[in-house]
Each structure stands twice: as structure tokens, then as C-alpha cells.
């Protein structure tokens, strides 16, 4: 009987943790790992009395599953642009009441009203970046201004490609002069043949390993996301980053409110807080991705504006494209073609 009472005591102790007895105002945010300066939560609590609970995900796909299966669990979520489009289509998102988010006016105008959410009814950009070439200046003398350098036999066995279908097919399509969002199978076929032709020159197809290997000087050229490029350049001064002239991909991670959110008003307060210039600056300086917040960029000054990797010229941006969500039947084509690339001899 003693043991039974011990078990009961344990149950009671646990239940105390699971159901906190307070009626405190909270906002439950669901973010990427290490994607925000979390000391801002403290400031938010001081100013509004709302406590921030933070949960984390590692991929967009994981996040979407969680938002679908646990309604009400999250008030603020940070999906990438193509997922915003998909979540809107699936009815997973609530419209944001812009009257409660006056600081949204700080967002750079070119990032507003994007294809994935034409009137910004559901989302506000949080961070953005590009895809480009990270190169080792001790191994590459010529200017890196075209994707074509990835097909140059001089760099045989000295190239890292992204092991990511949309990015790698996309840059090849750009190199061939097509749209990254093309729906023409003939253009996709052409891109596939081009990648198969490139394969003997490629050292490895990888994603997360690339940045550290570039720091160690393992290859001359690597296709990377701008955030990874800045990380690597910080650790190795011989590295440089370039977005080729043919244009590339601009990606955005946005802030959204799930349709099932329990604390929608708190969520809007938090989103407004994120759009405030000083807070946007702190987040940007913490993760060092490109900020969508024009007022914050003004605060950061030359450190930010002079850095072409984090702050590409409007000219470069104009040549870039957003990714659109691709329908299932085209994804089947993409996957079969990518399989051919990955297993070409």
C-alpha cells in the first residue's frame, strides 16, 4: 500500500507541472531553433505582462504536421514563404488584424504584397535571404558572376552542390534562362541533363555540412543560402559570397497566426513587437540574416548596408524570384528527375 501512495504522490506532483494553476496572459510561439534573440521575451513581458512560451521545429514539414495535429497549441509560427502559401490554401492561418500591428509599416515595401500572400492578409516577413555561391578567394581568381562557373572544368572535384531539389534545379533553370517556378517539363528535362553533365565535377551534394567544410577549405565553390555564407565568412576571411547575374532565389521566413490560435490578440501584440525597429535590429544582429525591417536597417547603419551578402543591391534582388508552391503532379516530375541526377554515373 505504501508503494501505491508513492505512485499517487508522483501523479499529483506531475499533474501540478502539467496544469499550471495561474491565469497569466501568455503567447505560445513556434519557431526555428536559434532563430531569435530570446532576451527580447523578457522585455516583452515587462512591457505587456504577456509571458512568451517558446517551442521549436527544425523543418517546415515538421512544423506543418504539428500545426495540423495540435490545434490551439501555437499562437505565432514562422513558416517559409512556400509554406505560407500552402497553409493559406489549407485554411490553417488566421487573418492578421493590421490595426493591431502598426509597426508593420517598417517592413520594406518590396517585401510586401508578395506572390505567396498577395495582400499580406496572413503573414508579415520576419527574415529573408538569397541563394548564391560561396567561394574561396585563394582558389578562385576570376569574378564569380554567373552560375556557369559551376560547370567550369577548372573546378572539377572542387564544387559542393546543395542536396535540395528546388534550390539546385532552380539555379540550373536560372542559368538556362528559365523561371525557377517553370511548369514546362521540357525546361525541367533540359535542367536535368545539365545537372547530369555537371555531376563529374561535383565533389559532394550536401546541405548542413557545407558551411563548416568551406571554412576548412575543402572546396573552391559551394552553393549555399546567404545565412550559411555569412556564418562561414565570419570564420574564414578568404571566403566570399556572390549572387550570380542570371538571378537566383529570394526566400522569406514569415510570421503567421494559426487559425486555431487561442491568444490571437497577444499574438498580434507580439508580432507588432517583432516589427519594432529596435527589436528587429536585435534579432537581426543575433542571427545575422537579412532583415525585412527598413527602420531597423537604418539603425544598423553601414555594418549592414555595406555588406553585400546580407544586403544585396536592388539590381540583384530584381533578378531573383520567390519560390511558388509546386502542385503534387509537378513534384512527381521533379522527384523522378532529381533521382536521375543523384544516381547518374
Amino acid at each position: 500500500m505504501k508503494k501505491l501512495s508513492l505512485v499517487l504522490a508522483l501523479v499529483l506532483a506531475l499533474s501540478a507541472c502539467v496544469f499550471p494553476a495561474s491565469a497569466e496572459e501568455v503567447v505560445n510561439i513556434y519557431n526555428w531553433y536559434d532563430y531569435m534573440d530570446e532576451s527580447i521575451f523578457e522585455d516583452f513581458y515587462k512591457e505587456t505582462g504577456i509571458k512568451v512560451n517558446c517551442m521549436y521545429f527544425t523543418t517546415n514539414e515538421d512544423m506543418m504536421v504539428q500545426v495540423r495535429v495540435s490545434p490551439g497549441a501555437y499562437d505565432v509560427v514562422f513558416p517559409s514563404e512556400y509554406c505560407v502559401e500552402r497553409m493559406i490554401n489549407e485554411g490553417l492561418l488566421a487573418e492578421i488584424n493590421m490595426d493591431n500591428v502598426p509597426n508593420a509599416k517598417n517592413i520594406s515595401s518590396w517585401l510586401m504584397n508578395p506572390d505567396y500572400d498577395p495582400e499580406n492578409k496572413y503573414s508579415i516577413p520576419f527574415m529573408w535571404g538569397t541563394v548564391g555561391i560561396l567561394y574561396d578567394t585563394t582558389k578562385v581568381d576570376e569574378p564569380v558572376d554567373s552560375w556557369g562557373i559551376l560547370w567550369d572544368e577548372k573546378y572539377a572535384n572542387n564544387i559542393f552542390m546543395l542536396d535540395s531539389i528546388r534550390d539546385t534545379m532552380g539555379l540550373t533553370l536560372k542559368y538556362l534562362g528559365y523561371s525557377m517556378n517553370t511548369r514546362d517539363p521540357l525546361q525541367l528535362k533540359e535542367a536535368t541533363d545539365k545537372l547530369v553533365e555537371q555531376k563529374p565535377l561535383v565533389k559532394a551534394y550536401q546541405v548542413d555540412e557545407t558551411k563548416d567544410k568551406m571554412v576548412n577549405g575543402e572546396a573552391a565553390l559551394a552553393v549555399v543560402w546567404s545565412g550559411d555564407a555569412l556564418y562561414a565568412m565570419d570564420l574564414n576571411e578568404n571566403l566570399a559570397y556572390s549572387v550570380p547575374n542570371e538571378g537566383s532565389n529570394v526566400w522569406v521566413d514569415a510570421v503567421v497566426i494559426p487559425a486555431t490560435a487561442k491568444n490571437k490578440e497577444n499574438a498580434e501584440k507580439f508580432i507588432d513587437f517583432l516589427c519594432r525597429p529596435d527589436i528587429a535590429q536585435r534579432n537581426c544582429e543575433y542571427i545575422w540574416y537579412s532583415s525585412p525591417n527598413a527602420a531597423a536597417i537604418e539603425l544598423m547603419g553601414e555594418d549592414y548596408t555595406e555588406n553585400l551578402a546580407i544586403n544585396p543591391t536592388q539590381d540583384i534582388i530584381d533578378r531573383c524570384e520567390w519560390f511558388q508552391d509546386i502542385p503534387e503532379n509537378y513534384m512527381t516530375v521533379y522527384n523522378a528527375l532529381w533521382s536521375q541526377v543523384k544516381n547518374a554515373k
Partner: protein, 329 residues
């Protein structure tokens, strides 16, 4: 508790389950005044049903249905022709795949053949390296035997992902081995990003699965048998191939199976050490599930893999009906 990913009711259900189990145990003890087998087997049986049998049935279900849940054999056609689904979509879009230069895609079949070949090489190398090692470790005269056993076991306590990543920092172009070569005045050699490095990673990871079954059998073998053979005039070599080798065969067969099975299904190692330049069947299945998000074709590929493994298990049962060799792991 902020990061708790389990819903609150989940905790209650788990606790309730635990309580029921404890109560059942107490009741059972009071009635029987002693240990009886079936109730202690029940957690394991439940585990088996939930985590082995149900997933297998699910794989079977997905393999034979399409995305709408209707019966189909298309997923297996996709194994034979990796362009099958694509060509179907292209035709639906109004294109003629043949005009575009798409015919049967051999990617999946080629990958399976490549995986079988790599697994075969891995098994042969493990056998060549592992048998003498096991023989030495089981030798009664050799005092360091038990130490060697421990040295073989310790790395297995570490996660295999970590061990594979450790190999990366050894083999890289600017890794430890190449730095040493450079310091000694030799040129750099590219050790990584090829099939050889993948094979090395596989042999390294699976070698203990060859050594221990053989060691186990040799260790339990009655050494008086070889002494008798010597007394009757056999020299060392003859004793080995007339007595020791035949008696150790169950261990060898068990070792071969235990290396071959995981080797065929290898994934991650080709991506890390091979630079993702050539996929193995495990990578293909992973990509079909996670990247292509196609559970139906992924399940069909898994089923083909499982049938291969079942066949090799059946073979093992024929040669080693007692399952002696595998008892250590």
C-alpha cells in the same frame, strides 16, 4: 515544461496505463504467490504488436494502395521503372514522354544492385578481417583476449552517426590523415567522396557483428576436441580445417547474415562519406519517404527490401537452426 511536446491528456493516459499495469502485477502476485511467465511476457508482446507487427501491416497497406487508398500495383511498377509515375503525369499533361527522351528509368533497380554489391564486398571484407580476430580473441593461450573483446565493444556504445562523422574529420582533404601525409612530404590524396570511403565506413560499423558471433562459437567450443586432433597426429593447420573451422560454421553464417542485412539497408554513410554522389537503397527509401513525401512507393521499396532480408533469414535458419551464433548480440 514549456517544451513539452506531449499533450496533457497523453501524460494522464500513460500514467493510467502504468497504474493498471502495477495493479495487475500486484493482483497476480497475491493470487499465485510466485513468478509466472505469461504476464511478464505481456509487455514485450504488446511492444511487438505495437511497434513491429502494426508498422509492418501499415507498410503492406501503403505498398498496395495509391494516395486515395485504392488497391494498386503501381508502386511496384515504380520500383521496376523509376519514371513510371512521372511518365503517367506527363501523359496527363499532354506530353509524350517518349518524344522527350524518357523511357524506362533504371534508377531504383540499379541502386538495389549497387547496394547488394556493396553489402557483398562489405561482408567478404568483414569475414576476412573478422575471422582471424575472433580466433585470436578466443584463443585460450592468448592472455589479452578479454581486453580485445572490450576494445571491440566500447566503440559500439557510441552512436554510429557520431562514429561516422568522426571518420569524416579523418578522411577529409584537409583532415587528419591528409595533414599528416602533407607534413611527411607526400601529396594529398582524396580519400573521401567516393565508394571506397563508403565501403570503409560500412566495414568499420559492421565488423563487430561479424566478430562476435564467431568469437561466441569458438569460445564455447570444447578445446579438448582440438587437443584430441593433435594427439591423433594432425598438425595445426589440419586441426584448424578439420575441427575448428567446421565447428565454427554456425557462427560464420550468423555473422554473414548479421553483417549483410544492415549493410544492404545502409543509409547516411553514403551521404556523409560518399558525399551523396551515389545513393544506396536505404537512402533511396529515406528520400522517397521524406523528400518526395511518397509513402506508397517508399513502402513498396521497403517491402522489396524486407522480402530480401526474410529470404536471407530463411537461409540462416537452414544452416544454423539453433541460432547459436547470434546469441551474444
Amino acid at each position: 515544461m514549456n517544451n513539452l511536446q506531449v499533450p496533457a491528456w497523453g501524460i494522464w493516459v500513460m500514467l493510467a496505463g502504468l497504474m493498471v499495469f502495477i495493479v495487475l502485477l500486484v493482483v497476480y502476485f497475491k493470487r499465485n504467490h510466485g513468478l509466472k511467465r505469461p504476464i511478464f511476457a505481456s509487455p514485450y508482446t504488446l511492444w511487438m504488436v505495437v511497434f513491429t507487427i502494426v508498422p509492418c501491416l501499415l507498410i503492406g497497406y501503403y505498398a498496395f494502395t495509391d494516395i486515395n487508398g485504392a488497391f494498386t500495383l503501381d508502386n511496384f511498377k515504380n520500383f521496376w521503372d523509376s519514371n513510371y509515375d512521372m511518365n503517367k503525369e506527363l501523359i496527363a499533361m499532354g506530353f509524350n514522354p517518349a518524344d522527350m527522351g524518357f523511357s524506362r528509368g533504371t534508377v531504383n533497380v540499379d541502386t538495389l544492385v549497387y547496394s547488394l554489391w556493396m553489402a557483398f564486398l562489405c561482408t567478404v571484407i568483414c569475414l576476412i578481417l573478422g575471422y582471424p580476430a575472433a580466433h585470436i580473441m578466443a584463443d585460450r593461450e592468448f592472455k589479452l583476449g578479454p581486453t580485445l573483446v572490450i576494445l571491440f565493444v566500447i566503440p559500439m556504445w557510441m552512436n554510429f552517426l557520431l562514429r561516422t562523422i568522426a571518420w569524416m574529420s579523418l578522411l577529409e582533404d584537409n583532415g587528419l590523415i591528409n595533414s599528416l601525409l602533407e607534413w611527411l612530404g607526400f601529396g594529398k590524396v582524396q580519400l573521401m567522396y567516393n565508394s571506397g570511403a563508403v565501403l570503409l565506413g560500412m566495414v568499420y560499423n559492421y565488423l563487430p557483428f561479424m566478430v562476435f558471433p564467431i568469437y561466441n562459437v569458438l569460445n564455447k567450443m570444447d578445446y579438448k576436441l582440438s587437443e584430441a586432433a593433435m594427439d591423433l597426429g594432425c598438425d595445426k593447420w589440419k586441426t584448424f580445417y578439420k575441427v575448428t573451422l567446421p565447428l565454427s560454421l554456425p557462427g560464420v553464417v550468423s555473422g554473414i547474415t548479421m553483417v549483410f542485412m544492415p549493410a544492404v539497408t545502409t543509409f547516411f554513410i553514403p551521404r556523409m562519406l560518399g558525399g551523396g554522389n551515389t545513393e544506396m537503397f536505404g537512402d533511396l527509401i529515406e528520400r522517397t519517404f521524406l523528400t518526395a513525401n511518397n509513402w506508397n512507393v517508399g513502402s513498396a521499396l521497403s517491402m522489396i527490401m524486407m522480402v530480401l532480408i526474410l529470404l536471407s533469414l530463411g537461409l540462416l535458419r537452414k544452416v544454423d537452426p539453433e541460432g547459436e551464433g547470434g546469441s551474444m548480440i
